[in-house]
């Protein structure tokens, strides 16, 4: 059957018609191009009248293909696909040609614009002849959800989903959920204690009937696609039988081995070799740190086992592999602190009283190693003067270009806490003060009124070498006060470095595991930076919290809830509809060379050993077409972007030149 094409040229008011002679363009298309049954122009093709015109022609003239020459397909492709569908034509038998963005808006010369518009319309007509009707792919959604990361963003997401009634697996690498927030003292700008607002949520998450808590666990492998992920999780051996343990804490008391706690106490305090990271830990079961346990290192001790009233200690416990089925995944893997040793001139790691922001949080925390007393490393001396350096490792082309977003507010909070608790002189060394959150600037003003010193300048050096009287035994901060235009040496007793938030060291590995993208520095990339901040390019994988980029607690909570809402809406639909623009392999033609196997970043292509052919999982395929271009046997078809369609488009787009040079040649030959 010969195809009947309808070509519709839009005026877009005068946006197109002001440059291109649309009436002539339509007439030319009808007269010249193959299989064009009708070509019309209209003031606004996208208006309901324009769409009805197309629908009527499809029905009355029996059009089998439609081409609209108007604006960019990114604007109205869906509009016209829907119009086709309403008239009973498969929406993929439509092609859109951009003669506004690509011709009338960017070309001055009207004759030249006409030539280009003709070429593009010709390309569309030639291409659409080879379009094939495509049907969307429907996939069932498993209502279970995996949340990776038990910080505040992950907890929030898990709670929202669990409350709605779906089951959540909350995986956390550390022995307890809580994340960085559990380590903090007060939270800005309200100065309510972090634990007071976090621990109730942790408790609820730990005891929710719809949440399976998998702490001290890590995701090993992810297979599948939106609605149907299979996830392998390694439950690391706690060496404690959690079915018997009551969390009484006797084992911890009796354990003779003290270890500096680098994780929860950020190196400021100690824990035992068998430990729960903090008293409100959820779950409240301890874990044995095998590397430091005397029994595991030397073969004797077993004090914990001896004193455990329920016989819960199990030295032979092994890692356990779990396989779970989920429909959606939320990644809330958080951040790690910039290693301040990388800026040697600030002396961190060399000068005892230079500490990081996280160390200060522990120092100031009533549940911390000093009971909340702000003291120097000697454990007794109260500082007389404290310097707080902003932007350590952030807003710096040598380390992290981005702003860490929270350090200004955090430094202001530190200034307040130091002043309140010690009465010390406090100096803030800042580049810019950034306090854009709700009531944040009010907090800044309040701190200004508390008599805190603010010095605008990037600190050059922190040193313990005195040059002037009064500097002996002090840490001297060398800085240029850029507002006063002079060099300063400020002697202090303690320096707090507001170290940057940076992506976790294994962020790229995690991104690869889940098939999502990661920016060059390591933050996970959202589907759209403004309009889709918690979805990723991989359907069914969402991101929340700082793993997406630096942000404060309210923003992390908002993202956790937002990701949960997105997941719940998918679960509510029960099925997800996927665009059929995907690749498929003709197994008759596949030679089994496996060239395509490694090209797919979404792991959509698998090799079937017994038949020696490759196969594409349509639900995993995102339709980029890289494998299609690479297949040496031409066995892979990229739906809606087939070789035939593109070749025809090339022929169409060059309709006016394909024989140009030959004509010239013929003319040049003397008779």
């Amino acid at each position: 059957m010969a195809e009947k094409i309808g070509v519709y040229v839009c005026h877009c008011g005068s946006n197109i018609a002001g440059v291109i002679d649309v009436v002539n363009l339509a007439r030319w298309a009808e007269d010249t191009l193959p299989n064009v049954r009708v070509a019309r122009d209209y003031k606004f093709m996208c208006s309901s009248l324009g769409q009805e015109m197309i629908e009527k022609d499809i029905k009355d003239l029996g059009l089998t293909r439609v081409v609209v020459a108007a604006c960019s397909p990114h604007l109205h492709e869906t509009t016209f696909r829907n119009a086709c569908q309403r008239a009973g034509l498969n929406p993929f038998l439509f092609e859109m040609v951009s003669i506004r963005e690509q011709v009338s808006w960017v070309t001055q010369d009207k004759a030249v614009a006409m030539d280009k518009a003709r070429a593009l319309v010709s390309a569309g007509v030639h291409r659409v002849l080879y379009h094939q009707p495509l049907e969307p792919i429907f996939v069932d959604i498993n209502p279970n959800v995996l949340v990776v990361g038990g910080g505040i963003a992950g907890i929030q997401a898990a709670l929202e989903i669990a409350d709605q009634g779906s089951h959540v697996y909350l995986v956390e690498r550390e022995p307890s959920i809580g994340g960085h927030m559990a380590q903090f003292d007060k939270t800005f700008p309200t100065l309510d204690c972090a634990a007071c607002i976090l621990t109730p949520k942790m408790f609820t998450a730990g005891h929710h009937p719809n949440i399976t808590l998998l702490t001290w666990s890590e995701v090993e492998k992810v297979d599948g696609y939106v609605g149907n992920f299979t996830v392998q999780i390694r439950k690391k051996a706690r060496k404690v039988d959690t079915t018997k343990c009551t969390g009484c804490g006797v084992c911890e008391d009796k354990c003779p081995k003290k270890v500096v706690d680098m994780v929860f106490e950020a190196g400021m305090g100690t824990r035992k070799a068998i430990y729960t990271p903090f008293p409100q830990a959820v779950p409240n079961y301890p874990v044995i740190d095998v590397e430091n346990c005397i029994y595991f290192q030397r073969g004797t001790c077993k004090a914990c086992e001896k004193f455990c009233p329920t016989g819960a200690i199990d030295f032979n416990q092994q890692d356990e592999m779990l396989t779970i089925q989920v429909g959606n995944v939320i990644l809330a893997t958080g951040y790690e602190l910039f290693d301040a040793r990388r800026i040697p001139q600030y002396g961190y790691g060399r000068l005892a009283n230079v500490i990081t922001n996280l160390e200060f949080e522990r120092l100031s925390n009533t549940a911390g190693p000093t009971g909340g007393k702000i003291v120097l490393r000697d454990g007794v001396t109260t500082p007389q003067a404290v310097g707080i350096i902003h932007c350590v490792g952030s807003r710096d082309i040598k380390y992290n270009v981005d702003c860490s977003a929270i350090c200004c507010m955090q430094s202001l909070k530190f200034a307040h806490l130091v002043k309140e608790k010690t009465g010390a002189k406090v100096y803030n060394f800042y580049i810019d003060i950034r306090t854009p959150g709700k009531t944040y600037d009010e907090f800044y003003r309040r701190i200004l009124d508390e008599g805190i010193h603010f010095i605008r300048g990037k600190v050059a050096e922190v040193t313990d070498v005195p040059r002037f009287p009064g500097e002996e035994g002090k840490l001297i901060i060398q800085v240029e006060d850029t507002l006063a235009g002079r060099q300063l040496r400020v002697p202090v007793d303690m320096v707090i470095l507001s170290a940057a938030m940076q992506p976790r060291a294994d962020a790229k590995e995690v991104a690869k595991k889940f098939g999502i993208s990661c920016s060059a520095n390591g933050w996970f990339i959202e589907r759209h930076p403004k309009l889709d901040p918690v979805a990723t390019m991989t359907e069914g994988i969402f991101i929340a919290g700082v793993c997406q980029g630096p942000k404060d607690i309210p923003a992390s909570v908002a993202q956790g809830a937002a990701a949960a809402a997105r997941v719940l809406s998918l679960i509510g639909k029960k099925q997800v509809v996927l665009e059929p623009v995907r690749a498929s392999i003709n197994q008759e033609q596949c030679s089994g060379c496996r060239i395509c196997n490694n090209l797919c970043p979404f792991n959509a292509i698998t090799f079937i050993e017994d038949r020696a052919v490759s196969e594409i999982n349509p639900a995993l395929c995102q339709g980029c077409g890289t494998c299609v271009a690479a297949c040496p046997s031409g066995a892979i078809t990229g739906a809606h972007f087939t070789n035939q369609q593109i070749m025809a488009q090339i022929e169409g787009i060059l309709w006016d030149v394909s024989n140009r040079h030959l004509v010239h040649e013929a003319e040049a030959v003397p008779a």
């Binding site: 951009s98 808006w105 960017v106 030249v112 080879y130 993208s517 299609v628 025809a648 040079h661």
Partner: protein, 161 residues
């Protein structure tokens, strides 16, 4: 003839960055050379080298390939594959006697309408200086070589199957 010679260039863009860069150039009303005619692919990784040969054989004087910047690919890393493929393509084109400036790869993000427009202007100027490619004609003289490209399906009279 070269004074009035207006080259025709076929541009292949990815759907996410470079086609959107063209959209943006339009929205910003940036005026640029009208010689490049764009074909949208989902990803620059879809670019089969035979598209380039086909375009040149059909009379194009040059081919522009454009995608997201390395590291920004919508499909994670497929533009790196384009890059690799492009290196090979250039060698093949050189072996066929086609000047390297006629086929080029340009990264343009969705925010870089001006950069795409500038690149197009530069490319058009350079190809104008080179003159027409006349590849079909060259090949016919040097007969036999063209059969490889002209055996592609022709679409002028067909209907979808």
């Amino acid at each position: 003839m070269t004074d009035t010679f207006e080259p025709v260039i076929v541009g292949f863009t990815c759907n996410w960055c470079s086609y959107r860069a063209a959209d943006l150039a339009g929205m910003a009303r940036i005026k640029y050379a009208p010689n490049v005619r764009l074909i949208r692919l989902m990803c620059s990784g879809r670019l089969d080298p035979q598209f380039v040969f086909k375009a040149l054989a059909e009379g194009a004087d040059g081919v522009l390939i454009s995608g997201c910047h390395p590291g920004d690919c919508h499909y994670i890393e497929q533009n790196y594959k384009t890059m690799r493929r492009f290196a090979l393509l250039k060698r093949t084109l050189a072996a066929l006697g086609i000047e390297p400036t006629r086929v080029r790869l340009v990264w343009a993000s969705a925010a870089e309408g001006n950069i795409l427009a500038e690149e197009i202007d530069r490319m058009v100027a350079e190809i104008k200086a080179l003159g027409p490619l006349n590849w079909k004609q060259r090949m016919m003289k040097d007969k036999g070589h063209l059969s490889a490209v002209s055996s592609q399906p022709t679409a002028v009279t067909g209907g979808a199957q």
